[in-house]
Symmetry: C2
Subunit: 643 residues, 2 copies
């Protein structure tokens, strides 16, 4: 299940590449191609040698080939490329003047194909052609080739006025010396992702800033520490870092969310070229991501705001990745992100293109909101089981038994935590009970308030952390407010498990409902089933329940409308009612469990007492109200004083 | 108590004014003063005639008067002014070159004094003096007067190069034709405030936009509808509206919060002069108010963001007013705002300068947050009493009995609401149970999340409204999730009252704690006792409990640290525990009542289970933790897997 970091090691090592040399007739593709194949010690293929008989006959009759004639031939070349990729790679020469031709050639090898575009002026090429003895080509024919040419993007473009020797040097420089992917910022997460990329045989550049006396040679020392980083190139200066990357450059920022991201973007911008791609892998606010996306679009730079969940270990062994932004830009980074992502039960990467703009960071934010609740519920389970007389080891044993029906990564680590001893005592008893937070729970609560969604459990889990922070006031209050005598908890441990499961269903309902609301509101067109799929492994909230959600969200976006979930809730309800009412009587802090049943009780009432609130608003503020017996949604106002 | 709109009608009608004519020697003060007194048919006094014998002797000896000599004399003139104000007003001539002199003259009559500043160039005045036969004054003496002169702000400044006839015309124009206060926007609140100002004998200008076919002659028709508006001047065009106001102009905007406010500001700006004052009386977001404050400061316009609570009736009969902004600008509008405000039990206005920038709108926002909770608690009380078998009339009778210990404006109007019948049924039964909201509850929840404060009850009341809005889903859910059989509520009506009172204490604790936190955070230096004082009347959350808070907040900013409140909470606690636990068992939607006891249970625990959360965060994210046994606040990290 999800708790295992399931990242199967890639079978093939991919330093191999298929190098296509393209350009109009007469630029010297064959010459350069065969020189390059010698230099790299890989096979050379001239595309023209692969035409089927029909094409050869047609050409020998002096007829021009049409696109239909070409497609079969291009497919043959693509099959050749796929085959060669499994060996040492190769050089293939082909004019490939149109984007559609190149797409056929690229099929299934996109991450491993390199394109060299030999380019020069009409006059220069015409002159060269005329100097060749064995070629004859009219100026008109050359001109028509220029007309057909759709100039490619993101290739190694070479000026043919250079000597062949220098052309080979320039290509080699781009191909062999340059890294495929840059990692900017080597904190806990940045380091883990770097090693993950290197373990997947990507050639990467590493950057960490230089702060005299504090952060010196961070990238270099990090590279030297791990074998897998032997081919990684370390930097502490921005210009050479950027120049070390193949175009379009792919740079993942792993820096603290906030203004630092903007500072880094400004630092990088002067060195970037049109079409380069920045990926923000931090927990940035989704509104900021939208702003940065727009800003960088105006500079012709792609921006991908990507949630990354899994913590230190997940980042190393396979995190869940939630990239949002331009789909075409995503395709460029897809091979990298999918390779390093965790894999689901079917071996598919826990990484998918979420949607446009800030959608990736939005869903990561809600992921963290759901995480806040899952953590708080376990903390409340702990305090209940403790009041029932169990020590941490005994609680761990109880939770161990819950794995069968309620397993999750967070449950598993909580068991580990409870068992950790320091001398004769449990380490957990020594830990200060002031819970920190780094913004995402806060932002989720703000988003839910702004979107008009009652994600009560996330807010409640956030506030539980806030309350914990008032340690000094809590100590005074614990003396002021005494616990009543003769308290006892009248429920079983199975009731606690049921209450916990009930609350988790409400938590997931609310979290996904918030995502669904944002999807409609921002026109992101998000896929809840696909989202839960990429959360089945790698991320902090992976669980057996998440596995179930993949199927459920294929039929509904609303968990509380699913008949099996309804049945399960009905079965768990007696326990949550008992546990919450008993805990309230016993003055146990279980606000999150409590919120779960209070939410359902508020949600499942056809006629609520909100009519009182509407009447009050109309009374003092003339805010008007609608009537149950008027389907026209007309607004009424009453002078309430005249009885 | 607070539920009565206590706005005692002002005794004296104040169209009368004291007109001071000031300026250096030789500007023609006496001439203009006596002409003006004739024109207005009010007495004329020359300040020089009121010097005490000592001063006269000193001057006759050729000695200059010092400030000590002057102060007694200025006090005499002020006493004269106070006396004349009770009659028809008067014109007083006095050079009054220094601000401190003018402050003495203004004592106790600030709202009713008008200052005319006769001004001209040194050369012009010198020439005029030399042309007079009966005066002799050296150029040095005149120059020293110019040196002493502290140019006054906010006066009617007149250029003495005009003819006396034109000077009188200009002064009369400013004095008699122009309004003292402008009201921009004649919605429900704008209309009520206009009538309130007129009832207090202020001369006002009224503006409402012209929208062909929809809003035409709104101000004119409104003026014609109410006798008290006979001297008000109506406008539907901005330039003449602004020009109809005395300087510094005081314009209160009563338009919908949001971008409309910025639009109105831009519409007004071209017609305003330095020193004019805009008051935003709508429910604007406090962050926006800070932005507008800064923006208008850069244009030399004062901006006051003012909360106004009391609804339609409060605005008419006396609201609670919460102005925030520059203190000097506040002094200019103070006479108006304090006159129209409700009065507290001691007759003091329920209006006070809150603090700088957006502080007025912040406290109004929290006021509304507290209001959301007070309303939600009454809605929950209603649904409990209904489940106990009471009809709306019976519930009203029960609540009537609660006035003795728990009275509030909202309780009173709820009783009125419950008694309102339509035919044989109660009107409240017909009202659609989808509660609206206009942003302030939402903003309070956002502010509390941003400031790190656990204002759980406001968030819970907001979410209760949000849940109510899902009427269609609620109906489906009510069919999916059945109520268990054989339910019964095992508590008394007194328990419900106690639970309600308990929850209200927690609500007020959290609301004022949020204000206190903002005060520290934004350096606003707010006074919680003064704040609760201005909320004892006029506003929606006025209550007997608010009256108590005025005294309590004189000794502490933390309600839960007050020993009497602690005792009261302890006495009420058994009831809230019983009511909440029984309601949870009986599946009644009482999330706000529930949140109150859950908050206390979380707050009064010395050792919470937040240690579990810290351990989890350190486990998966290496977020580190502090230890209870290390007071140095050092951060620790553990490798949790090695057991």
């Amino acid at each position: 299940m999800g708790a295992q970091f399931g990242c199967p090691k890639k079978q093939t090592k991919i330093e191999t590449n298929i190098i296509f040399i393209m350009g109009v007739s007469g630029v010297g593709k064959s010459t350069i191609g065969s020189l390059l194949s010698e230099e790299l010690a890989i096979p050379f293929f001239d595309g023209d040698d692969f035409h089927p008989e029909n094409n050869i006959l047609k050409m020998s009759r002096g007829e021009a080939l049409n696109d239909n004639d070409r497609f079969g031939w291009l497919k043959t070349l693509n099959e050749l490329a796929v085959k060669q990729l499994k060996k040492k790679g190769c050089v293939i020469v082909c004019s490939a003047l149109k984007e559609s031709y190149r797409n056929i050639l690229n099929t299934n090898i996109k991450g491993n194909s390199k394109w060299v575009f030999l380019n020069g002026s009409f006059e220069l090429i015409e002159k060269r052609i005329n100097n060749r003895r064995d070629h004859f080509m009219s100026s008109d024919l050359l001109r028509s080739q220029f007309d057909i040419l759709e100039e490619p993007k993101n290739t190694i473009e070479i000026d043919i006025s250079l000597t062949p020797e220098n052309i080979i040097k320039a290509i080699k420089n781009e191909l062999k010396m340059k890294s495929e992917f840059g990692l900017f910022g080597l904190g806990v997460m940045g380091k883990s992702l770097s090693r993950n990329l290197a373990n997947n045989d990507f050639k990467i550049s590493l950057f960490n800033r230089h702060v005299a006396g504090k952060e010196e040679n961070v990238a270099l020392n990090f590279k030297n520490e791990f074998k897998e980083l032997s081919s990684a190139i370390p930097f502490d200066s921005i210009a050479p870092f950027v120049n070390s990357l193949q175009k379009p450059r792919k740079i993942m920022l792993m820096v603290n969310a906030g203004k630092i991201v903007d500072g880094v973007i400004e630092d990088l911008l002067p060195f970037l070229d049109d079409g380069d791609i920045l990926i923000d892998g931090g927990n940035s606010n989704y509104n900021k991501t939208k702003e940065r996306f727009d800003y960088l679009m105006s500079k012709n730079i792609h921006f991908i705001g990507s949630g990354v969940s899994g913590g230190e270990e997940g980042a190393l062994k396979g995190p869940s990745i939630m990239p949002g932004g331009d789909k075409d830009a995503y395709k460029e980074v897809q091979p990298f992100l999918e390779a390093i992502a965790a894999k689901d039960a079917n071996g598919l990467p826990c990484c998918t293109h979420i949607g446009t703009e800030g959608s990736g960071h939005f869903v990561k934010m809600v992921h963290n909101g759901i995480e806040y609740v899952e953590m708080q519920l376990l903390a409340e389970v702990f305090i209940i089981l403790k009041r029932l007389g169990n020590d941490p080891d005994q609680i761990a044993t109880i939770l161990e038994g819950w794995k069968e029906t309620a397993n999750s990564y967070l449950l598993e680590i909580t068991i580990d935590i409870l068992r950790k001893k320091e001398g004769d005592d449990w380490l957990v008893n020594k830990i200060m009970d002031k819970a920190g937070n780094k913004g995402t729970g806060n932002w989720t609560t703000i988003a839910t308030a702004q979107l008009g969604m009652p994600s009560t459990m996330i807010a409640s889990a956030l506030f539980a952390r806030y309350i914990s922070f008032y340690k000094e006031e809590r100590i005074i209050a614990s003396e002021n407010f005494k616990l009543e005598d003769n308290l006892s908890l009248n429920f079983t441990i199975d009731d606690v498990l049921n209450a916990y499961q009930f609350a988790r269903i409400i938590n997931h309902y609310q979290g996904f409902k918030l995502i669904q609301e944002a999807s409609v509101n921002y026109k992101w067109n998000l896929n809840l089933s696909e989202l839960s799929r990429i959360w089945t492994n790698g991320c902090i909230i992976r669980s057996d329940f998440m596995l179930e959600l993949v199927a459920i969200f294929k039929t509904t976006n609303n968990l509380l409308m699913d008949s099996n979930i309804v049945k399960r809730i009905e079965a768990l309800k007696p326990s949550i009612k008992k546990v919450v009412s008993e805990c309230v009587l016993n003055e146990l802090p279980i606000s999150n469990l409590s919120e779960s049943i209070n939410f359902l009780n508020s949600f499942k009432i056809a006629n609520s007492s909100a009519n009182i609130i509407q009447a009050q608003r109309d009374y003092f503020g003339a805010h008007t109200y609608q009537r149950k017996d008027d389907a026209s949604n007309k607004f009424y106002h009453t002078n309430w004083k005249n009885n």
